[in-house]
């Protein structure tokens, strides 16, 4: 496990209590899990993703991450409609361990872009992890 100070927590994305991140990319938002989440889970062996077109409200479960020792639910940081899923993860789920920020999981068209403001900054998220 990494020391909290050793975590990679970029400043240009928003974080949730459940360790997902969201990044605004023009009209859409990409969603993934934080360095802390991938580190805690260990080797990820399967990513269950929703279908393109599925609608979710903020906080809904949109998929699961399965590692060799546990399964975790994924909760969506912002409401919206899924416009893309990262199909590279179907055959190479370990991409999330290698770089959790490059390995986005889904891309959504947000219902309310303002919801982004409610997410934690990197500094606030780190404070949360420190408890």
């Amino acid at each position: 496990m990494k020391e909290l100070e050793a975590l990679n927590l970029p400043d240009n994305i928003g974080y949730t209590d459940d360790h997902e991140w969201a990044q605004i990319t023009g009209e859409t938002v990409r969603i993934g899990v934080s360095d802390y989440a991938q580190d805690q889970l260990g080797d990820i062996v399967f990513v269950e993703m929703p279908a393109v077109g599925d609608q979710f409200s903020k906080g809904d479960e949109f998929g699961t991450l399965e590692s060799v020792k546990a399964v975790s639910e994924l909760y969506i940081p912002m409401s919206g409609e899924v416009v893309a899923v990262n199909t590279a993860l179907e055959d190479s789920p370990e991409l999330i361990n290698e770089d959790p920020y490059a390995a986005w999981i889904i891309e959504i068209k947000p219902a309310d872009a303002g919801e982004y403001q409610q997410l934690h900054t990197a500094a606030a998220y780190l404070d949360l992890l420190k408890g």
């Binding site: 399967f46 269950e48 399965e66 590692s67 020792k69 546990a70 399964v71 639910e73």
Partner: protein, 444 residues
């Protein structure tokens, strides 16, 4: 690996650990009126020969004995069990209901169950088969729950009324308290399931059919699967007689997504109804939603082939309330026995035996029709069929019973509109002589 009960030293040591003086002390929280207070009233011990004689006398009082010709199937089938199976399955190393967790201790058991899974997957045309469920009925209930999980938001399933009535009762027990809707599909005059109402079922997660169904009738699974898929539902097929797939196109080839059923036919004695064996498999896309244990093949650090439980993250010790099932122990020894049975017969043997069942069944069907009986359903059957008789069959049934032949199952109790219709089953154990006797009595 041997399985021995606790010794008195072990019990004493465990009691000491938890700070209890005795077993009575341990069970002290059980209310007094729920406990047995008087001692067992048992007869004095018998010598081995006295006991053998006692058991023989007891056996002689039973209606069914080894000479009885049983022409009743209806979910439990009287097949010959090869002595190889009885011998191998009787080995103490295999005697456990559990799928073993410790691969370092249990390679033999794990490999045996892996072989069972592989043979069953081939028989059913599935990509993955689990290490077993309790029985055909609970396997069907679990299959429908799996269909609901995969479909996520849909809350309805549909099942054919030609599925074994006991299976449907278990399905209701599993699904109704959880708030799911169960639609029942009617049976056509030819004995197959009526699928004409399917187009209205856009909110249905899964549709289940049994083939051969409870009436012995072979469903047109390929056509049904395609019609069901058109509604967006998953196709679940179940069975009570897996031997049929020695002859019929397997459910996987017909388009089934999940296949489940009862495996008693494969080397397990009927034993008044149990223990049974739930066979359960699915297509690869749904593997992560499988209930139950799954044995996989792997390599150890030195590159040698080995067997372990796999995809365990589906199970309750890891996923808790989100597990794919709460099944924990299962039918380990029954699955092992079925694997031994399939391996003993081989593909050719299963095909030949299925053919023999089919041919003998056709023979009795023809003889009964020639003797004046009418077939209730016109669609093709495997080793069971339903007939009615021009006159009350009761006296004839009794005369055959006096000759130690059990001539079918009257269906009124299970299907009131089929009162005085009889479900017959003919396996390899029924001789032409027995069938001719039945036909002669019908004519008499």
């Amino acid at each position: 690996m041997r399985y021995l009960p606790h010794t008195s030293e072990e019990i004493a040591s465990m009691l000491a650990t938890i700070g209890k003086d005795s077993l009575d002390d341990l069970f002290g929280t059980v209310p007094a009126d729920c406990r047995m207070t008087n001692a067992w009233q048992l007869p004095p011990p018998k010598s081995e020969w006295e006991l053998n004689e006692y058991m023989r006398d007891l056996a002689a009082t039973m209606r069914v004995n080894e000479h009885t010709k049983v022409l009743v199937g209806a979910g439990s089938y009287h097949h010959h069990i090869p002595e190889t199976v009885r011998h191998l399955a009787g080995r103490s190393e295999f005697l456990t209901a559990y799928t073993p967790y410790q691969p370092e201790m249990a390679q033999g058991t794990l490999q045996g169950i892996f072989e069972y899974q592989t043979l069953t997957a081939r028989l059913l045309g599935m990509d993955a088969v689990n290490a077993s469920m309790y029985d055909g009925a609970s396997a069907l209930a679990e299959a429908l729950l799996m269909g609901l999980r995969i479909a996520k938001k849909k809350k309805t399933v549909a099942v054919s009324k030609a599925i074994h009535p006991h299976y449907r009762a278990v399905v209701r027990a599993y699904l109704q308290p959880a708030g799911y809707q169960i639609l029942e599909l009617d049976v056509l005059d030819n004995g197959r399931t009526d699928l004409s109402g399917l187009t209205e079922l856009s909110d249905t997660a899964a549709v289940a059919l049994q083939s051969p169904n409870f009436f012995g009738v072979i469903e047109d699974l390929a056509a049904a699967a395609s019609a069901i898929h058109d509604t967006g539902a998953l196709v679940i097929t179940c069975f009570s007689e897996p031997l049929a797939y020695g002859l019929l196109k397997n459910p996987g080839q017909c388009g089934a997504d999940i296949v489940c059923g009862e495996g008693q036919s494969f080397g397990l004695s009927r034993s008044f109804g149990g223990p049974a064996l739930g066979m359960f498999g699915c297509k690869e896309a749904f593997t992560r939603n499988l209930p139950g244990r799954l044995v996989g093949e792997t390599k150890d650090i030195e590159g040698r082939r080995g067997y372990v439980l796999t995809l365990a993250t589906r199970e309750q010790h890891i996923r808790r309330e989100k597990a794919t099932s709460n099944i924990c122990s299962n039918q380990g020894i029954c699955a092992m026995t079925a694997g031994m049975y399939m391996a003993s017969l081989g593909g050719t043997g299963i095909r030949k035996l299925a053919r023999l069942n089919y041919d003998k069944t056709q023979y009795l069907k023809d003889q009964l029709v020639a003797a004046g009986a009418s077939l209730t359903f016109a669609a093709p059957v495997f080793n069971e069929f339903v007939v009615s008789f021009p006159r009350d069959f009761g006296p004839c049934y009794q005369r055959l019973l006096d000759k130690n032949i059990i001539a079918g199952l009257e269906l009124g109790a299970l299907y009131p509109h089929l009162a005085n219709h009889y479900l017959f089953c003919v396996t390899e154990t029924i001789t032409r002589q027995t069938m001719d006797t039945i036909a002669a009595e019908v004519r008499a």
